[in-house]
Each structure stands twice: as structure tokens, then as C-alpha cells.
């Protein structure tokens, strides 16, 4: 296994880099005025990335496709969210759908 020093150093570099990504916006914002179109573009970019994260984690584990139960659960969640169901119902229905389908062997 890799040494403790390497793990700690790797964690600190990854953590610092991640913090730098997250802090760039807030730090630059206080120095230069970010225009409204750019802010709107960044909001849209956040939504695009979060939906892509949702869809890829619903359908795949790394480079492998997932079983059908998980995307089925997420699909149910999407329909409920579109119909403005309460948040708790959406999340529990997704888990229950996936678990139920696996129970009957899908």
C-alpha cells in the first residue's frame, strides 16, 4: 500500500485544488464585477452539470452501465418532481422503486 505521507500529501493537494475551483468565483466577484449574462450562464452551467451528474449516476457506475432498477427509480422520482410532489415523497419513491424491482428480481 502507498505510504501515509503520500496519502496525506495527495489529499491536501486535491483538497486545495478543489477549494481553489470553488473560491475562484467568490474571490473574483469582490474584485471585478461579473456581468449579469455571465452570472446567468454560470447558473445554467451549474444546472447542466448537475443534471449530467444525476443522469450518469442513475445509468452508470464508472464505465459500466447500471442494472435497470436504479434508473427506473430515478425516472419515478423525475415524474413525481415534475408533478410537484413533496421532496420526501420523491426521494423515498425512488429508493422504494429500485428496492422493489430488485426484490422481484428485475
Amino acid at each position: 500500500m502507498i505510504s501515509t505521507t503520500a496519502i496525506v500529501a495527495g489529499g491536501l493537494v486535491l483538497g486545495s485544488g478543489t477549494f481553489a475551483y470553488r473560491a475562484a468565483g467568490p474571490v473574483l466577484q469582490s474584485r471585478v464585477r461579473v456581468s449579469l449574462p455571465v452570472q446567468q450562464l454560470m447558473s445554467t452551467a451549474a444546472t447542466v452539470l448537475l443534471l449530467a451528474l444525476c443522469v450518469t449516476s442513475a445509468l452508470a457506475d464508472g464505465q459500466e452501465w447500471s442494472d435497470p432498477a436504479r434508473p427506473a427509480g430515478v425516472l419515478v422520482a423525475g415524474l413525481l418532481a415534475w408533478r410537484r410532489a413533496p421532496f420526501v415523497v420523491i426521494v423515498l419513491a425512488a429508493a422504494a422503486t429500485a428496492a422493489g424491482l430488485r426484490l422481484i428480481g428485475v
Binding site: P26, L49, S66
Partner: protein, 234 residues
């Protein structure tokens, strides 16, 4: 302390706090499986908790474990993690106003679920309260969850049997639904997700998400475009 906490949660009502608790519990369970998997790959018991505190980014932490666990170098694992976390750059610009009072703490807490929950709130004061309450809660649940998972190790049962793997994407979907009701945003996001899916077989875990970004070329600034409606999470 109590007074400061209530001044922080001020604009949030009971149903908001209940939703935040639900998100926190879901993330805590993912944290437990992260801790168990990482220790199962041969890492020391403190590594998951250490990574959760210094990185605070689930996808990149799983990737780090996966690359090093498969015999890759720490340098490769860090580079892969930084590539995955590049998606946080636009998050910071989108939430710059929200974290203006505490930019350093706010930047540290910019976790996917926190970003999505905050962006679903339209009113600036509510958005700020939602961001910090959800963020501090997630920090606690994610770091404690990964510690508990590391200590329990292999005794953690298969969480997929309870459908919890479907709960994580469902949380994200429910949180971004208000933004998706805007047809222009939805179209760009759907094209992006299709691009990301095409990249899944070729890109390392998590990197496929970044392949959604070229869809932003379809985006056009609309002066006076309506703000997304408030999420109804009662």
C-alpha cells in the same frame, strides 16, 4: 450559540429544515459506504475521514480510492480528482453573491447537493440560509458517515438492496427541477446529459459529466429572462 443558529435558519421554515435533514441523512449513508469501500481497498481507518474533511467532494474521493486501490499512483489519483472537481468552478460564480458574507467558509461548503438546494431558492436571504444550513449539516454528516463506515468496514450491508443508490440521483433531480421548468435551460441541460452519456464508456468515472459542457454553446442570453420559480418542497 442558540441565538446565532436561529438567526442563520431565520428565513427557513420547518419543511425546509426537514428536507435539509433528509438530504443530510442520504449523504451520510453514502459517506458510510465511502468509508467502508475505502477501508476495504486497504486504506488505513483514518483515511476516509481525513479525505472527507480536506476535500469534501464525494465523486473525487471515490475516484481517488478507486485509482489508488487499483494500483495507480497518488499523482494520477489527484489529477483525476481535480478533473472531476472542475465542475465546481461555475458553481462558485453562480453562488458568489450567496456566500459574499463568508466567502472562504462558503467556498469550502460548495458540495453538489448544497449548490442544487441553494439554487432552488429564489429569495437571496433564503438562498443564503439554505446554503449555509445545508452545507454545515452535510459537512457533519459526510465526515461522520465516512468515519463510521471506515470503523464498521466490511460489516456494512449492501445498501443497493434498499434502493439507496437511486436516492442520490433522485435528490439531485428533485433539487434542480425548478430550474428545469424553464424550457431553454431544460433543452440545454438535456443535450448536455446526452453528451455525458455518450462519454460514459470512454471517460474515467465522473469525468463524463464535464462532457455535458459543450451544450452551453446552445445557450443564449435573454435580457429580462424570468428567474426560476421557487421550489415547492412542502
Amino acid at each position: 450559540m442558540r441565538a446565532r443558529w436561529s438567526s442563520l435558519t431565520g428565513p427557513l421554515d420547518t419543511s425546509d429544515l426537514r428536507d435539509i435533514l433528509l438530504i443530510n441523512v442520504a449523504v451520510g449513508i453514502v459517506g458510510i459506504s465511502y468509508g467502508a469501500i475505502t477501508v476495504g481497498e486497504g486504506f488505513a481507518w483514518w483515511v476516509p475521514n481525513f479525505m472527507s474533511v480536506v476535500v469534501l467532494g464525494g465523486a473525487s474521493q471515490f475516484l481517488f480510492t478507486g485509482v489508488v486501490g487499483a494500483g495507480g499512483s497518488v499523482v494520477a489519483a489527484v489529477l483525476a480528482g481535480l478533473l472531476v472537481n472542475a465542475r465546481h468552478l461555475p458553481f462558485g460564480f453562480a453562488l458568489a453573491d450567496t456566500v459574499r458574507g463568508r466567502p472562504l467558509l462558503g467556498s469550502y461548503l460548495m458540495i453538489d447537493e448544497v449548490v442544487a438546494f441553494a439554487l432552488a431558492q429564489r429569495d437571496p436571504a433564503r438562498r443564503r440560509a439554505a446554503f449555509f444550513v445545508c452545507g454545515i449539516g452535510l459537512w457533519l454528516f459526510w465526515s461522520l458517515g465516512s468515519l463510521i463506515g471506515a470503523v464498521l468496514g466490511q460489516t456494512v450491508t449492501d445498501t443497493d438492496a434498499f434502493g439507496l443508490d437511486a436516492a442520490f440521483p433522485a435528490v439531485l433531480l428533485a433539487l434542480i427541477m425548478p430550474a428545469l421548468r424553464d424550457a431553454a435551460t431544460r433543452n440545454v441541460a438535456l443535450v448536455g446529459s446526452v453528451l455525458a452519456l455518450f462519454a460514459v464508456p470512454y471517460a474515467p468515472s465522473g469525468v463524463a459529466v464535464l462532457c455535458a459542457l459543450p451544450a452551453l454553446l446552445l445557450w443564449r442570453h435573454r435580457p429580462g429572462a424570468p428567474e426560476p420559480e421557487e421550489v415547492d418542497v412542502s
